[in-house]
């Protein structure tokens, strides 16, 4: 069994991710936001589990539901809220929107690009750089079920296999791409088989079980690090709120949500930690409270932060 401290940490990061999301959703619903944003609910175990399995020198290209990965890798909630609110203090300095453009190479994070799935080729390039330099580092990239129907997903798996690139691809299968259910996206939801057809090792994991995700990610990353070539992890979960903040997701059957709600990643982890006496409910409650207050503090700081100056419009187009 994994170290107790590590397991409690996983809960703590998930709690912070959830607290961020709850706060963000509430703010945006009440008009305190700017533009749109994407709820993270349902993806906490994946983004935190993978984020924690990565080494400090590994590099991630997270997607729009990987808030946990940003947080685990050290991007502060202040900065992320700063980005969401268009402030000069966000990693994009107000230039990019919501969870896009949260790049910070000093944290090993490449900012998200909207065009699906452009993050994958980028991650392959990162991995190939490590291979080229003989550095024991791994690139970890994230993609939705919807992203796997875009051609670049296959182009990248194929090239990664040819070159045995140290690349781990995490597929966050949350049953929907916007309003489109899995069965309208693909005839076969066995994405592991698609990876294997390219010669990429594939493994499937319960995306709501943070420990399972962590273990799958850790093993995959270590394999890639050791020169074993690329791995794809299919992590199944459910997108619990709409596609984006404006989306009521009326197209999702209520029963489906109710079923998945039973398997909420935070609840699952909490129950397990308590059952296995790794943590008391009180200790976990106190983590939740700490997370909530951390987020309050971040929002306050972000809301107090300045907007960028219009005069800076053309700065930074070129390096």
């Amino acid at each position: 069994m994994l170290d107790a401290r590590l397991r409690t940490d996983m809960y703590a990061w998930m709690s912070l991710t959830r607290a961020f999301d709850d706060q963000m959703v509430a703010m945006w619903k009440s008009g305190r936001g700017l533009g749109g944003t994407f709820s993270q609910r349902g993806h906490e175990a994946i983004s935190v589990g993978v984020g924690m399995a990565m080494g400090p020198d590994d590099v991630a290209t997270p997607m729009h539901r990987d808030l946990g990965t940003y947080l685990v890798r050290g991007m502060t909630p202040e900065r992320i809220f700063g980005n969401l609110l268009g402030r000069a203090t966000g990693p994009s300095q107000g230039r990019d929107a919501n969870l896009h453009g949260l790049g910070d190479l000093s944290l090993g994070i490449i900012g998200f690009i909207s065009h699906i799935p452009q993050a994958l080729p980028t991650a392959l390039g990162v991995a190939m750089t490590f291979r080229h330099r003989l550095e024991p580092r791994v690139a970890v990239t994230f993609i939705g079920d919807g992203g796997t129907t875009a051609g670049a997903f296959h182009e990248v798996l194929n090239m990664a296999a040819v070159w045995a690139a140290p690349l781990v691809v995490v597929v966050e299968n949350n049953q929907y791409a916007y309003s489109t259910p899995l069965n309208q996206q693909m005839a076969s939801a066995d994405i592991v088989a698609k990876a294997e057809a390219h010669g990429v090792l594939g493994t499937r994991v319960d995306g709501n079980d943070v420990e399972a995700v962590y273990l799958a990610a850790r093993d995959s990353i270590e394999r890639a690090r050791a020169g074993g070539g690329p791995v794809l992890i299919q992590a199944d979960t459910m997108r619990m709120l709409g596609h984006a903040i404006h989306d009521g997701a009326e197209y999702v059957p209520e029963g489906l949500l109710a079923d998945w709600e039973q398997r909420d990643p935070l609840r699952l982890t909490r129950n397990r930690l308590v059952e296995q006496r790794t943590a008391t409910p009180e200790a976990l409650d106190s983590l939740d409270r700490a997370a909530a207050s951390r987020i309050q503090q971040a929002v306050a700081a972000a809301e107090a932060a300045p907007f960028p100056d219009g005069d800076s419009l053309t700065d930074g187009v070129y390096a």
């Binding site: 533009g35 875009a150 916007y178 960028p308 187009v317």
Partner: protein, 340 residues
């Protein structure tokens, strides 16, 4: 026209109802599907009860069947190419890009194959790609683009950009009926902010014809899309100071209505070209260059261009506001030009 209304109408008030720009698009699609069984709609999330990211296609699946309102996976390159195959077989697909920004994902299939097929061997490609474009609504670099210049430069395409509900309906009808690939740029900021009189039933605005939105003797503002409204506002403000401005709404960007452009330029001798897209090597450059070559003798001042900055479209309000032309900037450019 009410709402963000600058006092101009497309259609006599008697001939239709006041509806939004978005409603006009939706109505036109439905009308074309009703009229011609070969017309169908495809794209991400367009089907079912959902009806697309902007709900433009809402209700169509119930009315015309899932077979004519096809939800696609995320694969713009290939579903646009699929539309080309359908068009070659005689269907008339209307392809929705979820945002115009994603049209670059389908680029090869548009600029290399659809655009060139008739020239290369005679195959007809009567499709329409609908591209919800433009910014000003805090959507950031990936949901605010105006990429029309790429396509105006590409041989074999037609490109339209309606500014009013009536034109939105009429140009879409013309685009669907045209035997060539047409890219139809919708201005998202106009979707619900603009209402106008739109004729019931059949309404077709021919491709390739600009519209003179107002006339004035001192200078001409040539524009399209959302900037038509900013230009009309600017023209109104100028008028109160005795500066008369003609406003030309290009409506079709390819083929350009060069006659109207050159006549309007010659009539006033002073021209401002305005669009929301990046000014640098934008469509306005072509318009300005046309004038500099073919209306040179009539020019009484420099051909002024206003457009987006040469940056990605930034998200934060102070940046996006600095990025984008608006009525005030058009007005002040016009005052400077008028004094030339």
């Amino acid at each position: 026209m009410t709402g963000n209304n600058f006092g101009f109408t497309d259609a006599p008030a008697s001939s239709g109802r006041e509806i939004t720009y978005l409603e006009a698009i939706a109505e036109s699609i439905a009308h074309e599907m009703e009229r011609d069984p070969n017309v169908l709609v495809l794209g991400e999330d367009v089907g079912g009860d959902f009806g697309g990211a902007f709900k433009v296609t809402k209700g169509l699946a119930a009315r015309f069947g899932d077979d004519r309102v096809l939800n696609t996976p995320i694969a713009e390159l290939s579903f646009t190419g699929m539309a080309t195959g359908m068009a070659l077989m005689g269907l008339r697909p209307i392809v929705e890009m979820q945002f115009a920004d994603f049209i670059s994902t389908a680029f090869d299939s548009i600029v290399q194959f659809a655009a060139s097929t008739h020239y290369r061997w005679g195959g007809r490609v009567p499709w329409v790609v609908r591209a919800p474009s433009d910014g000003g609504i805090r959507s950031g670099p990936y949901h605010s683009q105006n990429p029309e210049a790429w396509f105006v430069h590409t041989p074999g395409l037609k490109v339209v950009a309606p500014a009013t509900p009536a034109d939105a309906k009429g140009l879409l009808a013309a685009a669907v009926r045209d035997d060539n690939p047409v890219i139809y740029f919708e201005a998202k900021p106009l979707y619900r902010s603009i209402r106008g009189h739109v004729p019931d039933g059949e309404h077709v605005v021919p491709l390739g014809e600009a519209s003179i939105r107002r006339t004035g003797a001192d200078l001409t503002i040539i524009t399209y899309g959302s900037m038509v409204h900013e230009s009309m506002a600017a023209a109104g403000a100028l008028e109160s100071d005795g500066i008369g401005a003609t406003v030309v709404d290009l409506r079709t960007l390819k083929p350009l209505d060069t006659d109207t452009i050159l006549d309007a330029a010659a009539a006033t001798g002073k021209v401002i070209v305005v669009h929301a897209a990046n000014r640098l090597a934008g469509v306005g450059a072509e318009v300005a260059a046309l004038i500099a070559e073919h209306a040179f003798e009539s020019l009484d001042g420099p051909v002024v261009r206003l457009g987006g900055a040469d940056t990605p479209v930034p998200f934060s309000p102070p940046l996006e506001d600095a990025y984008r032309p608006n009525a005030a900037r058009i007005e002040s450019a016009a005052r400077r030009l008028a004094e030339w």
